[in-house]
């Protein structure tokens, strides 16, 4: 029986993967629009009470309780070194799953799900300027309608953290 289920699940997943191709969850932060491939997105939830964790980087806002599962949330604005904004009733948390790590992204406003064709994605211009912090996590630009959307690479977003964390550890031990 287990086998059967697994197969079905696999098929479902595969199908999903297929239908998810080229789809992006887009959201607005400040004046800029960002997109994240929908295959990473688990769900979108309303803003929740967040338990702050002391002594962590400012963009890690704390922990939320997602139906018994405790997951960290980060503020995308702060992550990109923008001025933090007040949370309003439009503020949402996008729960993403990157290689089995669940993380919530606090965003100002959810825009929509966009289909973006591969060929309309161009790599970000490398300006070599430091203030564009978010460039580290943007792997492509896409023009849809009248807006340019910055497509985020969540894996990079996560990996970067880990490296930073390890570096931090090493520095401390020294």
């Amino acid at each position: 029986m287990a086998e059967e289920l697994k197969n079905e699940e696999m098929e479902e997943l595969l199908e999903e993967e297929d239908s998810q191709k080229g789809k992006f969850m887009t959201f607005q932060t400040g004046k800029e629009f960002f997109g994240i491939s929908i295959s990473y997105v688990n769900e979108i939830i309303a803003m929740q009470p967040i338990a702050a964790i002391p002594e962590v980087d400012d963009y890690i806002k704390g922990l939320i309780n997602l139906r018994g599962k405790i997951i960290p949330v980060i503020d995308v604005r702060v992550r990109f070194k923008m001025e933090p904004s007040e949370y309003t009733d439009r503020t949402c948390i996008i729960v993403i799953d990157v290689n089995s790590t669940m993380i919530g992204l606090i965003v100002e406003k959810i825009a929509e799900v966009d289909t973006i064709a591969d060929d309309s994605i161009v790599p970000p211009p490398s300006l070599g300027r430091k203030e564009h912090e978010h460039n580290k996590y943007v792997y492509g630009l896409a023009r849809t309608g009248d807006a340019v959307k910055l497509l985020l690479d969540p894996e990079k977003l996560i990996r970067q953290e880990e490296i930073e964390a390890v570096m931090e550890d090493i520095r401390k031990e020294d």
């Binding site: 059967e4 702050a52 002391p54 405790i70 790590t101 669940m102 964390a165």
Partner: protein, 709 residues
């Protein structure tokens, strides 16, 4: 269904018993390794162990095991009958261990479902040669040669069930079109065709010919078959008439899945049993009841049911083995239950003023009592003595000390101390490392080095476990060289592992802790047993991952003591929830000494900004949690807040909090690894209202506090 009958199969029993015997054997050997010879009772015991394993392996036809144990039994037979002097004891010990290792290896293969195919020839030859010398010695000493040890070939054999390697297992489900006529006959012809190739075939409904109504069942629910056969999938499919079939599901199963499926089908291996109330009562009286001939007479099949036994099979079992995963699942569930209980009992809906709650309180009191008991029971189920772990350590001391040619005595204290099973899994490797270190680095290379210091020539390692205050202490103590502080300091400086401070600025403990820094290894050369450069730091990491720590004591030339301090269990603690600012924190109840309210005049302000509190003449370091963790909207006036006095390992610290919320059982969850470790926090938990509280780690707070000063 089958799971209710968690009875031991013949093979399980063999594995279990032999495993036990071998453990006992190793125990004897390691205890007597340093003696001059085995005494009579040891010889008898080893003889008996070999005899038993030889016998049962003979019945199960594991011939290599039989041959090896047979030979060793012979050796001990001559020792028992003739009592020769001058038996090369060390060699004998080695022989016994070699046999024990061989058999253990074969048993492991069986456990993994492999064939025990180890080659016994070399071992048997060695034993033969040894036996030959032993006999020669007996003759030389003029002792009468006993009659040859008689061996009886087993007369009864047990053939362990095995699926032929080329057997396949399938589950086939046929759904006929709803207008199919006489679907039961179609189904029957399918089974008939399969019987040609079947080694085993089972189907449901199973009364397809005798019961015409079964046709409707087949149309509604489909016709399901379990098939064991040597034929390939394609061959089987070709045999099934698919003309009226709407859908045929065809799954290949593993043997295990097939067994489970058989159980679902209600088949021989998983007999349907109706235990009446009466029988249950009876059962208690006759615990030792054995199956009797006649218990397994099969009643004629009833429509739609599996085979039923005419007589109820007595069901009794005093010990059952349970899959650890199931235990863990139960543990998790109970953890969730505890949370759910808190959610109900502390529900804000209950806080309506004037609500009459006395009945609710009574009932909830009862509920709490039961959940507490439930927790205790599951905890006790998971507790295991350290005996096995310590046994392994004995073997390591034995092996390593012989390889390094050091004379070492091992003393074991408190091996019956019980700890949670998952903790045992986590401490075995670290402990092994510590023991190896002690043998390799701790004890002096030459006995003269010891005697000149007035120590006995023989080194001593003490392995001790004890249970104190909700923690388990496991220490590895040696009376060897001890740690040389200057050397450690110099090395740490040379390797750039520490800041450039004078040695006098470090406390002894801090210096000893250098050895746990990554990239530190005191021994110049890397040896086979320890000092691979990844050593103590890994030990410390492993121990920390389960909330424990490593304590190091050492006096140069006198020896060292490494103590692992680990929690009894990982999952649930008793905690007090406190609030600072807007954040709730949990403090483990065991570490709280008292709560006090103090006046501003009890505070001492150092010019450096450090603060101390004077309580009853004693001076304690003082931490304002709100400042330490930068928490807004909190009380900063000491007189308005509450001071908690915390104790950890004899050091105390006072912490200022805003208010106490409640005491409750806390299910510890790790902080998601994405968030880097914060010193002073050991985990988080979900409170009754669903919010998250961080758990304070007193040890971490103290260390951090120490570092700041």
């Amino acid at each position: 269904m089958a799971e209710e009958f968690n009875t031991e199969s013949m093979l399980d029993m063999f594995l279990y018993e032999s495993g036990q015997l071998l453990e006992k054997l190793e125990g004897i050997i390691l205890e007597k390794q340093d003696a001059d010879c085995f005494d009579d009772s040891d010889i008898n015991e080893i003889f008996r162990v070999m005899h038993t394993i030889k016998g049962s392996s003979g019945v199960l036809m594991y011939e290599n095991i039989t041959k090896v144990t047979h030979k060793l039994e012979d050796v001990f037979y001559y020792l028992r009958e003739s009592h020769p002097d001058d038996v090369p004891h060390m060699e004998l010990v080695e022989k016994v261990l070699a046999v024990s290792d061989f058999v253990t290896g074969e048993l492991d293969k069986l456990k993994n479902g492999d064939t025990p195919d180890g080659d016994e020839h070399q071992l048997v030859e060695d034993l033969d040669e040894f036996l030959g010398r032993l006999k020669g010695e007996i003759k030389k000493q003029g002792i009468q040669m006993p009659q040859a040890n008689k061996h009886e070939e087993p007369k009864q054999f047990y053939i362990t069930p095995v699926a032929g390697d080329d057997s396949h297992f399938y589950r086939i489900s046929i759904h006929y079109r709803s207008d199919t006529q006489m679907s039961n006959i179609r189904a029957y012809s399918a089974t008939y065709a399969l019987k040609e190739v079947a080694e085993d075939l089972l189907y449901t409904p199973d009364d397809i010919l005798s019961n015409e109504a079964s046709g409707d069942v087949i149309l509604a629910e489909g016709f399901h078959m379990l098939l064991q056969t040597k034929s390939s999938k394609e061959e089987v499919i070709a045999l099934i008439d698919s003309s009226e079939a709407e859908e045929i599901n065809f799954d290949e199963l593993t043997k295990g899945e097939y067994g489970k499926a058989l159980a679902e089908f209600g088949r021989e291996d998983a007999v349907t049993i109706d235990l009446g109330e009466e029988d249950k009562a009876e059962e208690k009286d006759k615990k030792k009841d054995k199956p009797q001939p006649g218990d397994y007479v099969v009643k004629t099949k009833e429509a739609g049911k599996g085979k039923t036994l005419a007589k109820n099979q007595p069901k009794q079992q005093s010990i059952i083995s349970v899959n650890v995963e199931k235990m863990d699942a139960l543990m998790d569930l109970i953890g969730e239950l505890v949370i759910a209980e808190a959610v109900v009992l502390q529900n804000p809906d209950l806080k309506v003023p004037g609500l009459e709650l006395s009945n609710f309180q009574k009932a909830s009191g009862q509920l709490s009592k039961i959940t507490t008991e439930l927790q205790e029971v599951i905890m006790s189920m998971r507790m295991m003595p350290l005996t096995n772990v310590f046994q392994k350590m004995k073997r390591i001391v034995f092996d390593v000390s012989r390889k390094l040619d050091k004379d070492i005595e091992l003393e074991v204290i408190g091996e019956n101390t019980e700890v949670d099973k998952n903790i045992i899994e986590h401490i075995t490797d670290p402990l092994m490392h510590l023991v190896r270190n002690s043998v390799d680095h701790g004890i002096e290379e030459n006995a003269e080095d010891r005697t000149t210091l007035g120590k006995p020539a023989k080194g001593k390692i003490t392995l001790e476990a004890k249970n104190e205050g909700g923690k388990v202490y496991i220490s590895v103590k040696d009376d060897g060289k001890g740690l040389n502080k200057e050397k450690l300091y110099q090395k740490a400086i040379d390797k750039g592992l520490i800041e450039n401070k004078l040695i006098s600025e470090f406390t002894d403990k801090e210096i000893f802790r250098f050895i746990t820094l990554p990239g530190f290894s005191t021994k110049e050369e890397v040896t086979e047993y320890s000092g691979r450069g990844v050593g103590m730091d890994v030990v410390v990491k492993n121990i920390q991952s389960i909330g424990g720590r490593l304590d190091i004591e050492s006096v140069e030339f006198e020896g060292s003591e490494m103590t692992l301090i680990i929690p009894l269990t990982l999952a649930i603690i008793n905690g007090i929830v406190v609030q600072v600012g807007n954040s709730p924190f949990v403090i483990e109840t065991a570490s709280i000494k008292e709560f006090v309210r103090v006046g501003e005049d009890s505070l001492i302000h150092e010019p450096s900004g450090e603060e101390y509190i004077v309580l009853r003449g004693e001076c304690y370091p003082f931490i304002r949690l709100n400042e330490r963790y930068d928490l807004a909207d909190s009380i900063s006036n000491v007189e308005e807040g509450i001071v908690v006095v915390l104790e950890h390992e004899g050091s105390q610290v006072c912490v200022l909090i805003d208010k106490l919320l409640q005491e409750q059982e806390i299910v510890v969850k790790p902080i998601p690894p994405y968030v880097k470790k914060v010193k002073g926090l050991s985990g988080c938990t979900q409170l009754g209202d669903g919010s998250i509280a961080l758990i304070l780690d007193i040890a971490g707070l103290l260390i951090q506090d120490g570092e700041r000063r």
